[in-house]
Amino acid sequence: MGLLGDTGRVSESSRVQSAPDPSYNGVSASGEPVVDVRDLRVRFGSVEAVRGIDLRAYAGQATALLGRNGAGKSTTMRVLAGVIPPSGGEVRLAGYDVRTDPMAVKRASGYCPDVGGLVPRATPWEHLELSARLRRLAPGWDERARELLERFELGDAAYRVTSGFSHGMGRRMSVVLAAFHEPRVLLLDEPFDGVDPLGVEATLEVISDARARGACVLVSTHLRELAVEACTTAVVLRGGSRVDTVRAEELGGEGGARAYRDLLD
């Protein structure tokens, strides 16, 4: 089934309560999900930021989380990264429960947060060194670090503190840090935000490489066209709930834009 099917607007409740099947809402995938989210709920005081999201993502695939501001994309990503504990529901990443085994979740994932993501008075190299040490990477990580910095055109800034970086440089560096240790699950929250075309290209390349080595990629963005280009599947969120899951290509072009807009309203 396509994004809108034959009826135009989709009933939200029918989408949210989709069966816990690897193939849901017409999007099929094979194998066990690497990211398996069931009825995720996140509450901050009296505000319920996420209201029962179901989500499954698979190895070798890239899934986009789309939606307007406040849809719950970043909160979901933070839960997946083990940074925020879920208030309800079940979340498993690479087979580990984020609630009971957050350390294993953090080892298996690489996370690019939506805001900043960089320690202001540390250099990119110091970020990479800390990551390598805490992730216990084998000697020789330096080469991979240098290669990534060069690919994202950050080689010249490797020894400068990040507080002097432009917004785009900061975003690119955050993607480098997320992808550096070749995680099984790559979590990129707004990786294209304010990034120049070369940076976007490098990020798309990182996503493609990750998929090629069998990693599961999740990209949260409000940039539909880039989501279509980078991802195989798109999950549309609204008001903290999932409203639909579609093949990313169905959101492409003018028809996709119209359909996407309908889902957001």
């Binding site: 933070r78 083990g82 504990p85 953090k106 996370y111 320690v119 805490l134």
Partner: protein, 508 residues
């Protein structure tokens, strides 16, 4: 859209900014309570000492001794206010720079905001209360209505002059060769002070201070209203207004120029070092760099390590009195960032929390960095202060060392508790930034000052005992309480719900 301008605009803007800042308060009732407490304490400092035994008694009491010291105290207030304003790059910001960029805030408003913020600093408050209290004690109850207006006007004038000097220094510092010039100037002042102390001319210098005339007017007020009192009030009032107004000029120059210190740190290269040998060392290295690469923290630590030691050196303090210094320095150093320790990570907090490392180890690294900073800065102070204090007894040295350790741990445990309980998103890039809003900082300062001063006084008493082992015994309960508090703060941090709230707040 055209906008009219007038000389009152900065004051109008200031009013709006103050309202905006007050509206951001998370606990308005608590804020009102704190303001009330500050007003009551100030009134108490102005009145209560006048009714103490020995007040205004120049023959039998200590009033005469205090009268002799009062000119130095008045001058000391000006010196402290100046040093504080210079170190913070022109005074504290009423609205953080990141938020302020959205509005057209001119240098005059910025200057007025800095003037308004100056008293919201525990050093200013303590010094101010001390001066008001000493003045009240010297003149007694009958002369309070005539003496305290002069004291209050001096506080206002001193603050305005300190601000003028601070903006001037900042304008120089931001100019060409500014860093070299300001450092040379500071070295000259330091050498001049050291020369006066070594040559024994310090007393002569203090006797020549202009504040002697001010104190003469205050003392003369005991005989009733006189022309000299009226002249003093009018002159101080005029000077305060003129100096406060003049402060706009250097402020304008300073704020037009780029902040060279900040730029130098942000654009400088920090070559890689050998890979850290352990996870803990890796985290300590990043946290330590976050401290020393922030202009406000670097300046603050250096100032705190040197200034109290130099004052104690010139005052020729004895060993038993040195026990109050570690608390003073440790509290000051914690107020630079320790009371909101997680703000060091800034927006990198989310990424750091996504790394696979035990939260307890992250906590330990932050405690390590804070503790080493407090211990090192207070050690430097003690070394300086001890240069002229003679040979200490075993009890004195034991009490001092124990006190040094105890207050450092006390301050760290309180700081870490506050850091977890009440985090703030703060950008420490600016030399004028503080780790928490002004009224919160006053609260923290008061709590730290109280607990460390009490501890210092306890160990001061212990230093006068014959047996040095008593110091060790007294240390045990202090360390235990601080240790338990620190463990509780750690437990709170390890809780994923609490930690996620802290991280999300500082990274916002």
């Amino acid at each position: 859209m055209p906008t009219a301008t007038s000389w009152t605009d900065p004051l109008r803007d200031l009013r709006h900014l103050v309202r905006f800042r007050l509206a951001q308060s998370r606990r308005p009732a608590r804020l009102r309570l704190m303001v009330g407490v500050l007003v009551v304490l100030t009134l108490a400092a102005m009145v209560v000492p006048a009714y103490l035994p020995g007040a205004a008694d120049y023959e039998h009491g200590r009033a005469f001794d205090l009268l002799l010291l009062l000119p130095s105290g008045y001058a000391g207030f000006l010196g402290l206010a100046t040093v504080s304003a210079v170190a913070s790059g022109g005074g504290r910001e009423l609205v953080p720079r990141e938020e302020a960029v959205a509005w057209p805030i001119g240098p005059a408003t910025d200057h007025a905001g800095a003037l308004l913020m100056a008293p919201l600093n525990i050093a200013w408050l303590l010094q101010g209360w001390l001066l008001l209290g000493a003045t009240a004690y010297v003149v007694g109850p009958g002369t309070l209505p005539l003496a305290q207006p002069i004291a209050l006007l001096w506080l206002a004038f001193g603050t305005a002059l300190a601000q003028l000097l601070a903006w001037t220094m900042e304008a120089i510092r931001r100019g060409r060769y500014g860093v070299v010039l300001t450092r040379s100037l500071m070295a000259l002042v330091g050498l001049a002070m050291a020369g006066a102390v070594v040559s024994g001319r310090l007393t002569g210098v203090l006797d020549e201070l202009p504040t002697v005339r001010l104190v003469t007017v205050i003392a003369a007020a005991t005989t009733g209203l006189s022309w000299s009192w009226v002249v003093a009030v009018v002159v101080l009032l005029l000077l305060t207004v003129v100096v406060a107004g003049l402060g706009v000029l250097p402020a304008r120059v300073a704020l037009r120029r780029p902040a060279r210190d900040e730029q130098r740190l942000e654009t400088g290269h920090y070559p890689p070092r050998r890979h850290p040998r352990s996870e803990l060392l890796a985290m300590v290295r990043v946290d330590r760099a976050s401290v020393w690469r922030a202009v406000s923290l670097r300046r603050g630590v250096i100032l705190l390590a040197a200034a109290p030691g130099l004052v104690a050196l010139s005052g020729d303090l004895e060993w038993e009195l040195l026990t109050v210094l570690p608390g003073l320095v440790a509290s000051g150093a914690a107020l630079l960032f320790g009371v909101n320790a997680w703000c060091l990570d800034g927006r990198g907090g989310l990424w750091r929390d996504s790394l696979p490392v035990a939260p307890g180890a992250v906590f330990a690294a932050r405690v390590w960095v804070l503790l080493e900073l407090l211990l090192a800065s207070s050690a430097a102070t003690l070394v300086l202060a001890g240069l002229r204090a003679g040979r200490p007894s075993a009890a004195e040295i034991a009490a001092l060392l124990c006190c040094w350790l105890v207050v450092a741990l006390q301050v760290v445990s309180l700081s870490m508790r506050w850091s977890v309980r009440q985090p703030f998103a703060v950008d420490l890039r600016s030399a004028r930034a503080t780790p928490a809003p002004p009224m919160v900082m006053v609260g923290y300062s008061g709590r730290l000052a109280l607990s460390t001063t009490v501890t210092g006084l306890v160990f001061s008493g212990v230093a006068q005992l014959a047996d040095w082992q008593v110091a060790l015994l007294v240390t045990v309960p202090f360390l235990s309480v601080a240790g338990i508090r620190l463990l509780r703060a750690r437990d709170a941090w390890v809780d994923p719900v609490v930690r996620s709230r802290v991280v999300a707040t500082v990274a916002a």
